[in-house]
Symmetry: D2
Subunit: 371 residues, 4 copies
Amino acid sequence: MSTTRSPVKLEMVDAPNQPPASPELAELYRGLEAESLVPLWTEIGDLMPGAPDSSAVAHLWRWKHLLALAEQTGDLVPVGRGGERRVLALANPGLGGRPFATPTLWAAIQYLKPFEDAPVHRHTQHAFRFVVEGEGVWTVVNGDPVAMRRGDFLPQAGWNWHGHHNVSSEPMAWIDGLDIPFARYVESTFFEFGPDEIAERESPDRSRSERLWAHPGLRPLTHLGPAPATPLLAYRWEATDRALREQLALEAEGYTATVEPGHAAIRYTNPTDGGDVMRTLRAEFHRLAGDTRTATRREVGSSVFQVFEGTGTVSVGDQRWEVERGDLFVVPSWQPFSAETADGLDLFRFSDAPIIERLGMDRVETEGTTT
Amino acid sequence: MSTTRSPVKLEMVDAPNQPPASPELAELYRGLEAESLVPLWTEIGDLMPGAPDSSAVAHLWRWKHLLALAEQTGDLVPVGRGGERRVLALANPGLGGRPFATPTLWAAIQYLKPFEDAPVHRHTQHAFRFVVEGEGVWTVVNGDPVAMRRGDFLPQAGWNWHGHHNVSSEPMAWIDGLDIPFARYVESTFFEFGPDEIAERESPDRSRSERLWAHPGLRPLTHLGPAPATPLLAYRWEATDRALREQLALEAEGYTATVEPGHAAIRYTNPTDGGDVMRTLRAEFHRLAGDTRTATRREVGSSVFQVFEGTGTVSVGDQRWEVERGDLFVVPSWQPFSAETADGLDLFRFSDAPIIERLGMDRVETEGTTT
Amino acid sequence: MSTTRSPVKLEMVDAPNQPPASPELAELYRGLEAESLVPLWTEIGDLMPGAPDSSAVAHLWRWKHLLALAEQTGDLVPVGRGGERRVLALANPGLGGRPFATPTLWAAIQYLKPFEDAPVHRHTQHAFRFVVEGEGVWTVVNGDPVAMRRGDFLPQAGWNWHGHHNVSSEPMAWIDGLDIPFARYVESTFFEFGPDEIAERESPDRSRSERLWAHPGLRPLTHLGPAPATPLLAYRWEATDRALREQLALEAEGYTATVEPGHAAIRYTNPTDGGDVMRTLRAEFHRLAGDTRTATRREVGSSVFQVFEGTGTVSVGDQRWEVERGDLFVVPSWQPFSAETADGLDLFRFSDAPIIERLGMDRVETEGTTT
Amino acid sequence: MSTTRSPVKLEMVDAPNQPPASPELAELYRGLEAESLVPLWTEIGDLMPGAPDSSAVAHLWRWKHLLALAEQTGDLVPVGRGGERRVLALANPGLGGRPFATPTLWAAIQYLKPFEDAPVHRHTQHAFRFVVEGEGVWTVVNGDPVAMRRGDFLPQAGWNWHGHHNVSSEPMAWIDGLDIPFARYVESTFFEFGPDEIAERESPDRSRSERLWAHPGLRPLTHLGPAPATPLLAYRWEATDRALREQLALEAEGYTATVEPGHAAIRYTNPTDGGDVMRTLRAEFHRLAGDTRTATRREVGSSVFQVFEGTGTVSVGDQRWEVERGDLFVVPSWQPFSAETADGLDLFRFSDAPIIERLGMDRVETEGTTT
């Protein structure tokens, strides 16, 4: 038997549905502790609530504060083999100081100074970059250099080699989203170091992946097999912006094209199957036209939003914030979310919805309508 | 902004790959704490290990101890509305005293005294029962009474109403397996109380679900649509035993029918799609013939085993135990497992493999061969 | 250009929607003939009817006549390499004398005299055997001898080696169903001769495939990969009969278990995915209790039925027949079908529904309700 | 029993594997004829060849002849309700004068004079248009006007309302591809007339479907459900041409991007699942750079090609043709195909491959390598 000492500690409680305290019960609890056993009756309220009662809390991080701190790290923290990345992760105050934006999601600001490299490695965790401002960095994925520019969404599925290099004389910051907390929780993570140097130092306008894949509905005959993650490494702002403008224009012409009045939205998808870009991460972009208010909605699963442009008011649970460019906030599982704006609001969103949906745990409630 | 105080606490550390301590770094860390941010460089070793380094530990629970404690609870703990079940959960010593056999799996012994009822409820968590000895209890699932007898595997997918009643003058104990830790982690859980009384008090030999579904390869025309969980509520011992005997007999006749020499095994599957019985739980039964040793194998994802019959030696990580009927043990993610037996060993196993596989995180290594 | 002469022959027709006859039109038609072109306007009524207008006709074949003729062939026609099988195929009178029960389906009686062999071959066409009476023949599929007995359904997916041998002193007849017409139409057929002798001459009660697979919901761990066709080579009468009896019993107890009152039915399915046994063929067994009449129903796609037991009246299109054991009839695409019986009627059915459904062409109408 | 007279006619033949002629055999054959039965032994060579032996033949249609005949029909044949379309279909000389390019595929030239309409209807057959030259026609699909221009591929899945109108002062011709022969064969066809007038007479540069869907990897949140056919109604030449140019450029830079040296190719796909645009039809575009020769390849299933640009030599079975812009040719099932070009050759191709693959009948052989 394991020599590990049992950390179980049980106490008799005078409460409804609890067995009456007695010397015999105390002795039983000592026996359970010794055998590493825990009764259901002391735990059921926590384990089996009537509806999800998230430990993560609704929280907002101001971009200006993040960016200022990231700039400070530039002076104090080297980037290189071992530390690997100069990254500050959102730590949800409900999650005990761990660097987890939500129980499943990692969200962080990454910062690279002029002409710096972040060294090559690979890991099974899925990742993406999203750029709220700036440019000058190329992320090199399996040898394919991918430019990063404002508005671009840059997915990077697990186990691909990648490093970043800044070819410009300006620093650059962006956000990273990963499934680190989830992968750690299910204990599935593998990691390997790559070469210390990034070999491919070109800075082409378009990556090879885009040249092969960024043609709507056209699939190269060399790549007909299944691809569990998207082979397209950059979803450019120009396309996203155009798609959203067209939805609002179609709405104005009288056609169904928006999620609700004034609310355009696209999901980034894997062109090989039309599903999410990665098996654990969903990414979307939402545009609210001026004078728009979304329906209040709650969902099983958690999300992180970043304001890309505009201003507005967002409500999450019992929190309510005025937001502006770059601000990040989380929507924990089953907490109601809504947003409104006078002048227009562009929101990037990512979530753990593919986990929830693939395992059949999805539930959505929109202003009282449960599905 | 949330008024929650940040629980982040950062300390400067004199270690490789850590930035040098300085008053500026200290000030930066105070700033990060104030903004609920955590650097990657202090966490990367924990978050991104080279291979899964499970927090759960290999551990064994002896059936005779479990059963003795369960019998004690029979005298001290009532079963009824509120507490819902008389259940003792395995608490992995590596998981801080929480009632989690592994990070994702719940495993427990449930105990019902003569003529007792466990009241009707439903929850989104998936569950099953497995009976290592005894009989006399019927679990009533959506009004369909299902007998529970030694060797039976009784799946019960989420959100189905269920209660149990003991129709005999003997107590009965069995094990429950659920995805409670996982569902709690992803914050997806819903729960509802049913009627206080179990209405259907019949004790038929076979449930209606078996009468409709337990015919190999034959599907009722009334049930052609997709079923995310198995509609078959009982997988009877007679069938399991026969399937295993046939595999060993075929092996003896010279045909490929066993996983490896002397090792027969079946997976319990959903007859509507041939996949796992539930979206988060896999269940299997393994039979080792006398004088058999399995190959050492490790997998991403965690498992719980119960010895059904026989004796043998099992190795998990650096643990090694002699086991006998009813003993339960866990195999944490990526820890090597093997078993050997002189006289034969029957093992029931359940795991979180459907979660791991549906999300593309599966990796298996068998005596040096990684796939 | 091909030197093949054009078989196109066009005539000017004085009819609505046809261009007026003229010397110029005549000259145009000669030009089209020369270039192997055909106008849509002369063909549209045939090619694009408002609803399917089957060329196959409703037709009945009497078992007693089939069997008598099959017995005659036993005396006159050897079975051996080259001819391969002693088989008489149903030739739908609407299909020009070709051996096609419907445009897609082959249905035939096969006859094997005492101690005869039908030699080993394989073909890409999918096949099954169904036994309305008799026994004594084993079909050997990839070396696995499979007994054939009354009521058994014996699927045999394409490209498996197979031969038959009669180990008894009685002749035996059964029906074969295949997708020969479909495979020929899409020009996908491959065929190979096997050894002249059947090597495996055992006559076990159960095949190895049954020993591995005929356990409800239990899947051997050696066979977890996808299987496009069922690995179970025999669906025994005892199981089919029991499943149908249970459905009627459950109906009598007040539960939903039958397709409609008095009408029990099962579909034979692939245990690895819950779908049809083969990619082009569906097989079902329907039991009508006494004093039952089915709703009239029509479907896109064609079927062949064989009466297994009992008597009744079946209606197909404008045909109406009294039927009895062994009688075979076809239901062409979109022709209404119903059946009624005073004393009970057991019907085996096979169809091309998997083709229709996989290609999204399915449509069903039940007594006026279209889906 | 059906009153239809049997069309079966059997003759005794003095040949290997045929039963010896005798009065008894003659009498048996008369009996089989009377009962509408056909022996396998007289048919097996035709029904079960060693490999597909297509009845369709390799054949070429010259665009200049097609176009000249289409222009003649413009003067002689009205287009309107009843005839529905002014269309000339390729009639494969091996298929008895029927308007079938191959057993499964319809290919035709359609011709619309200045300011003409082709009236609105819908049918379950899947269709597309491909434009080798010209412009000025809009096809209106469920009220969405879609411009047709050189190089565009315009899919139109079954059961959508559609009509065409020519808004220009020039006639326009294009090719239509459909699954008419297949749908007729399986007897699945439904057809309905729409309004006599096309209501939507706008001529926008881009259809609403493109405005919603032609953004690579971006899916509108309003359309997340499964779509069995592509919702994108136009695949524009500019995108196709760019994708092919990029493949050849990547090849020149040393990356794998082409099917074989000098041979770029894309498949038109459904952005909702990455599969074929329609359930029965595949469409691709192939570009051969100058001085390129493809490997010889044969496949189960049939194809139609149209030369879009350039010149070259194509070989199909034992045919060999010099081809130029607009020429159409068929590749029957399992006939070897290759192409070569000195100056470059652009080929549009469509086929029945989705039928073949969905039913598991696909087989490919490339210069001796079978897969």
